[in-house]
C-alpha cells in the first residue's frame, strides 16, 4: 500500500496510489496527482537523521566514517510535502539536498535486537534532508540552523507499507537537478543499516509509532539554486519532487517584522 496525505476541495484525505497518475481518496474519489496538494505522508513524532552514514559521502565531506551512528534530531517545523517549495536563505552560498530513505516506526518498542527490528517498521518514505552549510558550527554539529529550518525537509510523496519493500537494504537512490543526474547510491552501502539503527536507538530510548529515521545520504552533493527542480528518488518507495525558491520569492508578503 502506498498512502499519501493530500488536500483537495478544502479537506485533508488519505490518498492511495493506484499508479503513477491517479490516487484513490479515502472517500472513494479517483483524482489525478496534479489535482491535489501533497502533505507530508505523516506528521512525524520524533525524527532522527543520520550524518555520514554512507562511507563515500563521509569521504566527500572529508570525514572518516564514524564508530557509532551520528544521530541528530529534526524539529516539527521543517517538514513539507511532495511538489512543495524549499527556501534558500538569501545569504547562503552552499545549500545541498540529501536524498534519504525514511524509515517509519509502526509501534512502540524498546531494547529491540537487530533480528527483531523490522517487525517494528510500518513503512518507508523518501526524505530530502536539505542542509545550509554556511551555518555549520562545531557545536551539536550538524546544528539546527543547518538542518532544522522551515521548509527544508520535503517528505513523500507517500508512505509505502513495509510489505511492499522486501529488501530495504538494497534500493537504488538517485537525485537529479533540473533533469540531470547528480547523486546516485544504494542503501546497501549504509554504514549502520536499518536494523542496527533501530537496535542502537531503542537501546537507550523508547521508539513510538510515528517516529521517523532518515538514514543518511550517499555522495553527490551539488549547490541547489533558486528555480532548481530537485528530484530525490528511491526505487520501490517513490519520487519526491521539490523546487528551491529564493527568500524574496517565498516571502512575497511582507513579514510581520517589516510591517511593524
Amino acid at each position: 500500500m502506498k498512502r499519501a496525505r493530500v488536500m483537495i476541495n478544502g479537506a485533508i484525505h488519505f490518498g492511495y496510489a493506484q499508479n503513477d497518475f491517479t490516487l484513490m481518496l479515502d472517500d472513494g474519489r479517483i483524482v489525478e496527482h496534479h489535482e491535489v496538494q501533497w502533505l507530508p505522508p505523516l506528521v512525524p513524532r520524533t525524527t532522527f537523521a543520520l550524518g555520514l552514514n554512507y562511507a563515500d559521502h563521509a569521504r566527500e565531506l572529508a570525514f572518516k566514517a564514524p564508530d557509532e551512528p551520528l544521530v541528530f534530531l529534526k524539529p516539527a517545523n521543517t517538514f513539507i510535502g511532495h511538489r512543495a517549495h524549499t527556501v534558500r536563505p538569501a545569504d547562503a552560498t552552499y545549500m545541498h539536498y540529501e536524498c534519504e530513505l525514511g524509515v517509519v516506526i509502526g509501534r512502540r518498542c524498546r531494547n529491540v535486537s537487530r533480528d527483531q527490528a523490522y517487525a517494528y517498521v510500518a513503512g518507508y518514505t523518501v526524505g530530502n534532508d536539505y542542509a545550509i552549510r554556511d551555518y555549520l558550527e562545531n557545536y551539536y554539529r550538524p546544528n539546527l540552523p543547518v538542518k532544522g529550518r522551515d521548509t527544508c525537509t520535503p517528505l513523500g510523496p507517500w508512505l509505502v507499507s513495509a510489505d511492499q519493500v522486501p529488501d530495504p537494504m538494497n534500493l537504488r537512490l538517485t537525485t537529479s537537478v533540473n533533469g540531470v543526474l547528480t547523486q546516485q547510491g544504494n542503501t546497501r552501502d549504509m554504514i549502520f543499516d536499518i536494523p542496527t539503527l533501530i537496535a542502537w536507538l531503542s537501546a537507550f530510548m523508547t521508539l513510538e509509532a510515528g517516529d521517523l529515521i532518515l538514514t543518511g545520504t550517499p555522495e553527490g552533493l551539488v549547490d541547489a539554486r533558486p528555480g532548481d527542480e530537485i528530484v530525490t528518488e528511491i526505487e520501490q518507495v517513490g519520487r519526491l519532487v521539490n523546487t528551491v525558491v529564493s527568500e524574496s520569492a517565498y516571502f512575497k508578503v511582507k513579514s510581520l517584522q517589516e510591517q511593524a
Binding site: 500500500m1 544521530v71 551539536y140 539546527l144 532544522g148 510515528g210 513579514s255
Partner: protein, 250 residues
C-alpha cells in the same frame, strides 16, 4: 479496502504531555517542540571559553547552541524516572520553561516577548558528558529525561520576568542556586534568533537553563527545582524494571 496493520498505530498516535494552567486545572496545553539552549549561562561560557578556541570547536559559537528534548523525554511533575543499568548518575540542569502562546517567526525580540504565554519549570537531564561537538542524543534523549511542570503560570501584564532564581535541591538539600538573568542571550532575544529559521507554535517550549550539569543525582534521589512564584517541580530516580520491554503485542 482492508486495514493495513502496519499503519494502525500510526493513525492512533500516543498521547503527548499536557500541562495545566495554574489555578485553572480545567485548561491544559499540549506540549509541542521543546528546545533548549546550551552554553547560554555567562559563568559557564566564561569557564569554557578557552576550550572553545581549541579543537574540535576552533571558535566560540556565533549562534545559539540548540538541542531538542523529544517526545519520549517529556514527562510530568512527580514522575518516577527509571534509569537504565548503564547509567549510574545523571546531570541535572534546572531550567525555566517558557511556553509559547502564539506563532513566532522571523520575529524581533519585542515580538518574541509578546508571543510568550507563560512559564513553568523543567529539568534538562543528561548522562554526564563534556563534549558539545556532536548532538548528545544518547546522553540527553533518554525516556523521561525532561520533566516539566508542575503547572503553567500565565505571564502578567508586565511580561516575562528576566531574572528568576531557581533552586535545585536533592533529597531536601540545596545544591545550586542560579539566576536566569545571568545569560548570554535573554529569552526574548533567544526566541527571536531561533525564529529566524524556525516557526514556533502555541505549546512549544523554550528552555532557558542554568549552567549545565553541575547537579548530580543517582538512583533513589528525589530532586526538586523550585521558585517561589512558579512552585516546585519534583521527580525521583528509580531502577529500570529488570524485564526489558520489547514492544506492544502485535
Amino acid at each position: 479496502m482492508e486495514p493495513n496493520h502496519a499503519f494502525l498505530a500510526l493513525d492512533a498516535p500516543s498521547t503527548a504531555l499536557h500541562l495545566a494552567l495554574r489555578n485553572q486545572p480545567g485548561i491544559s496545553i499540549k506540549v509541542g517542540t521543546v528546545i533548549g539552549a546550551a552554553l547560554n549561562d555567562r559563568d559557564e561560557f566564561a569557564r569554557l571559553e578557552n576550550v572553545m578556541h581549541a579543537k574540535p570547536y576552533q571558535t566560540p559559537p556565533l549562534r545559539p547552541v540548540l538541542y531538542l528534548k523529544p517526545a519520549n523525554t517529556q514527562c510530568a511533575h512527580d514522575s518516577a524516572i527509571r534509569l537504565d543499568p548503564d547509567v549510574s548518575e545523571i546531570a541535572v540542569t534546572g531550567c525555566l520553561a517558557i511556553v509559547i502562546g502564539a506563532p513566532v517567526a522571523r520575529a524581533t525580540p519585542q515580538q518574541a516577548n509578546a508571543a510568550m504565554f507563560g512559564y513553568t519549570l523543567a529539568a534538562d537531564l543528561s548522562v554526564p558528558h563534556t563534549s558539545f561537538y556532536r548532538p548528545a542524543i544518547r546522553q540527553k534523549c533518554r525516556d523521561d529525561f525532561c520533566p516539566i511542570g508542575p503547572w503553567i503560570a500565565p505571564l502578567g501584564n508586565e511580561g516575562l520576568e528576566h531574572d528568576i532564581e531557581l533552586v535545585l535541591s536533592i533529597n531536601g538539600q540545596e545544591l545550586q542556586r542560579s539566576r536566569t538573568g545571568n545569560v548570554m542571550r535573554r529569552a526574548a532575544t533567544l526566541l527571536a534568533d531561533i525564529s529566524q529559521f524556525m516557526t514556533f507554535l502555541p505549546g512549544d517550549i523554550l528552555l532557558v537553563g542554568a549552567s549545565q550539569g553541575l547537579g548530580r543525582a543517582a538512583r533513589g534521589d528525589r530532586i526538586e527545582i523550585g521558585n517561589p512564584s512558579l512552585g516546585t517541580l519534583a521527580f525521583s530516580l528509580v531502577d529500570a524494571p529488570a524485564q526489558a520491554q520489547h514492544g506492544d503485542a502485535p
